[in-house]
Symmetry: C2
Subunit: 148 residues, 2 copies
Amino acid sequence: MLSKSGKYAIRAVLYISNHSNKNNKIGSKEIANKLHIPAPFLAKILQELTKKEIISSVKGPHGGFYLSQKNNNKTLFDIIDCIDGIQKFENCFLGQEECNENKPCVIHHLYVPFKNKLLSKLKTKTIVEMAIEYSKNNNFFDFVKLNE
Amino acid sequence: MLSKSGKYAIRAVLYISNHSNKNNKIGSKEIANKLHIPAPFLAKILQELTKKEIISSVKGPHGGFYLSQKNNNKTLFDIIDCIDGIQKFENCFLGQEECNENKPCVIHHLYVPFKNKLLSKLKTKTIVEMAIEYSKNNNFFDFVKLNE
DNA sequence: CAAATAAAAGATAAAAAAGTCTTTTTATAT
DNA sequence: ATATAAAAAGACTTTTTTATCTTTTATTTG
Ligand code: FES
Ligand code: FES
């Protein structure tokens, strides 16, 4: 479904949301280490996200990545749109030319409801909401969030 | 989720089930044309399926591919296992090292129920059952099936 | 048997995705 | 100002996936 780049992007952005803020930026290498992502590869991905203003960055000493208010209200859908493109959500699960009710493949009636729920969540929940959900699911509450 | 090879494989096998039988085999080129799949690429895929005895073939004039009784009772899961491998069904949707309830990613609780339904269908329905379901969904009933 | 036909096998080739490395730019702190 | 740290930019490499081409082998038909 998602490419490795896309998965890396989402996990990295959620990590940034949970572990940094404007006064406490985080470097791409640290994120890469923590998430076990090849560092130069992640750096490229973060570059693209920065260019599309989904995350923010500052160069130089104590520079790094963080999320502005505006960034935090973007969605995971925006991330996927930026890195992978969203065409994939139109495609038939089995690669038929069309995906629709008229000529459904044998997986269609399983796949479409899942896809709709997925898209709804990806589009309506903000990055910060997702990051909080993740931190709750995983029982951690980061000190950085406190003094944001 | 599935690679192109895997999608091609499933669509081709369902096509074979619906449009050929032991006395009326179908060639790889014809399948490729009908399903808009690159012909030499499909030929390779069908070779692998034949080697793993998921489909049957006969060389020479009036040769081609068909499904034996035994073939027809295999599943789409067997096809995926042969072409793509089944490791992918273990992976986290967002590429986390583990996919489990202890450290669920933000898509986990949407993804796992879908995956379970999908796997259940892929594993329990036979190829011939899937092929019939497809032909019903698409309102065609092939003459070849009649005199099988 | 000979000719024709279709799959099998295997070698290449092209494209896409993933990953690495080097240089440049910019912000910060001393 | 200068040194430094970190991202930005971009060239490059490797790996994987997708696709093609050629030769061989097996089967059928006349
Ligand atoms: S037709 Fe295959 S998923 Fe919709
Ligand atoms: S943890 Fe991500 S899908 Fe299960």
